[in-house]
């Protein structure tokens, strides 16, 4: 659970997260946007199907793998949000054609 410090939310962009519209901070990465939107688990693990969430925020751990605009296995912490972006939490391994 995170909260935004005052005066740090200059602009916003509208995206969808798992089909629901969400207003997130412009300039945030997808992983930061998910955290600030209160999304607890951004993917489920490949083997155990246990919920997982961003862990390192710097491109190392690959826990923030999400589907962005239909392309899965994107590292959410390395992708900046864009207006209209479709962000979907990822369930297991990447699939063919996704």
């Amino acid at each position: 659970m995170f909260r935004r410090l005052p005066d740090t939310n200059a602009g916003t962009v509208d995206v969808t997260i798992d089909g629901r519209s969400a207003r997130v901070r412009a300039g945030d990465t997808v992983a930061a946007a998910l955290i600030s939107a209160g999304v607890l688990a951004s993917r489920v693990a490949d083997v155990s199907r246990a919920p997982r969430a961003p862990y390192c925020m710097m491109g190392v751990c690959f826990e923030c793998l999400v589907t962005v605009d239909g392309v899965s296995n994107r590292q959410g912490c390395l992708v900046a949000v864009k207006p209209g972006m479709r962000i979907d939490t990822q369930h297991g391994k990447r699939e063919v054609e996704r």
């Binding site: 410090l5 300039g27 930061a32 955290i35 688990a41 155990s48 710097m58 793998l65």
Partner: protein, 469 residues
């Protein structure tokens, strides 16, 4: 994006203090220079988002952070090509660099390559470390610097190391709540004090002490933690701990931050076959380098924490040294931008006190070689016990082991489990981590799609090598 050339005099990987300093020296000396960085803005992790942070108050992050602004500005005006959002996934002995930018891959070459890939946080494998709500302290700091986000609800920071105190101090400055700091026991505190005289003349001492005391005044600190566990079903709900002489305690939490020091990010250097050695003080693999950061492969240097952990100021000095060496090699007659000896003197000053920090904050064995039922490999979900069982079957090192378990073969490519695996196998076999070795890393060091690979321009030799008949 900048129009890229096919060849450069110098290519730098990483835009932290080392990479920025190296690229600035090279570009200002008239060398064609390109800097690739994976992040969207320059600064690396220490100066993360220094050009774009929403935090306007110096009082949150401290003055050291803002030192990165000048370094970044010097780089941005140096004439070097800067490519953010660039993932370098291959580097060959011939200094061919494979890089992806915005889903499009290309290959270019450079006369000299300077790797400044920095550090990553040491794996902290405890029971429950994969639960949502548990993240590294460095991740928390990135959310603060980049997005102005601070933890909400009950918050505990656990582990050890100077960065842990810095982050706690920054959180308090930002008005965030910290319920407790659980300081894990060190293995070698006494040895640490033997290095105290060097620390006394280190530029870090006063700063570090002042921050630690400021945090201790305001936060409950439980020292000498020997057992630590995150608990919860779908997310972290509690942290259980025990001190050396105490009984088990439990704190209800919404956020748990873990940190036990940083280690070199070796994936690209190792995949390039640069020789690395086990460092017994820093408990990690570090590259074998000369005084200018030159590696065991001609024309490739390593600067910054990727060359062995030494901190931001040392990283900047090592970046300058690597840059100056590249200039000497490629433009022997160019007047040097700085005296190499003066930079070495500066580097030595920042190296003072490092031995104390390494020894004093050496993470305890039980947090480096966890109990059997603890997950070691987060991606493929392999436990310490499974790894140890492969040693009983005759596996001598990580590369045999992974054939049985897929441990280290998930998307993170061993970054979150490699050191744990090496230390577990070394202990079980009764040999040194150096003898056990590390995963045999291969390109691509970050995943790229087959489509990206297939779209690369192909030369005659490459086409012949796959042609039939």
């Amino acid at each position: 994006m900048t129009e890229l050339r096919n060849t450069y005099d110098v290519a730098v990987v990483g835009a932290g203090p080392a990479g920025l300093a190296a690229a600035t020296v090279c570009a200002r000396s008239g060398l064609s220079t390109v800097l690739f960085d994976e992040q969207p803005a320059p600064g690396g992790q220490i100066y993360r988002a220094v050009t774009s942070t929403p935090l306007k108050r110096d009082t949150i992050l401290g003055t050291d952070y803002w030192a990165g602004a000048e370094l970044t500005q010097n780089f941005l005006t140096s004439g070097a090509d800067y490519v953010p959002g660039a993932t370098v996934w291959n580097l060959t002995r011939e200094r061919e660099i494979g890089v992806s930018v915005a889903g499009s891959a290309r290959i270019l070459t450079a006369e000299r390559v300077i790797l400044a890939t920095g550090a990553l946080e040491r794996p902290f494998p405890i029971s429950g470390w994969t639960l949502p709500g548990v993240m590294t302290a460095g991740a928390g700091q990135i959310l603060l610097k980049s997005s102005g986000l601070v933890p909400d609800g009950r918050t505990v920071i656990a582990g050890c190391g100077p960065l842990l105190w810095l982050i706690a101090w920054q959180y308090l400055n930002a008005g965030a709540r910290i319920d407790a700091i659980l300081e894990t026991a060190g293995t070698d505190r006494a040895a640490g004090w033997r290095h105290a005289p060097a620390l006394a003349i280190s530029p870090y001492l006063l700063k570090g002490l002042r921050r630690m005391l400021a945090v201790r005044r305001r936060v409950r600190v439980v020292a000498n933690i020997v057992e630590l566990r995150a608990e919860g079903r779908d997310c972290v709900e509690a942290v259980a701990y025990r001190t050396a002489r105490g009984t088990e305690q439990r704190l209800l939490v919404d956020n748990l931050f873990l940190h036990q020091g940083v280690v070199p990010n070796v994936n690209l250097a190792m995949a390039s076959r640069i020789e690395h050695r086990w460092d017994d003080m820093q408990l990690c693999f570090s590259p074998v380098l000369d005084a200018d950061g030159g590696s065991t492969i001609a024309g490739i240097a390593i600067a910054g924490d990727g060359a062995g952990i030494a901190g931001a100021e040392a990283a900047q000095a090592r970046g300058e040294l690597a840059g100056l060496a590249a200039v000497r090699a490629l433009r022997p007659n160019a007047p040097p931008l700085a005296e190499t000896d003066a930079v070495r003197t500066r580097l030595a000053r920042f190296a003072r006190g490092r031995a104390f920090l390494d020894a004093y904050y050496k993470p305890a064995v039980q947090f480096r070689r966890p109990a059997r039922d603890t997950l070691v490999c987060r991606c493929e979900e392999v436990t310490a016990g499974q790894i140890l069982d492969t040693v009983a079957l005759g596996c001598t090192g990580p590369n045999q082991m992974k054939a049985f378990l897929r441990c280290g073969m998930g998307p993170c490519q061993g970054r979150e489990c490699g050191l744990t695996v090496t230390e577990l196998i070394a202990q079980a076999r009764g040999v040194s981590p150096q003898e056990v070795g590390y995963y045999r890393l291969r390109p691509p060091v970050k995943p790229i799609t087959l489509g990206e690979l297939a779209s690369l321009p192909k030369n005659e030799a490459a086409l012949r090598s796959v042609a039939r008949g």
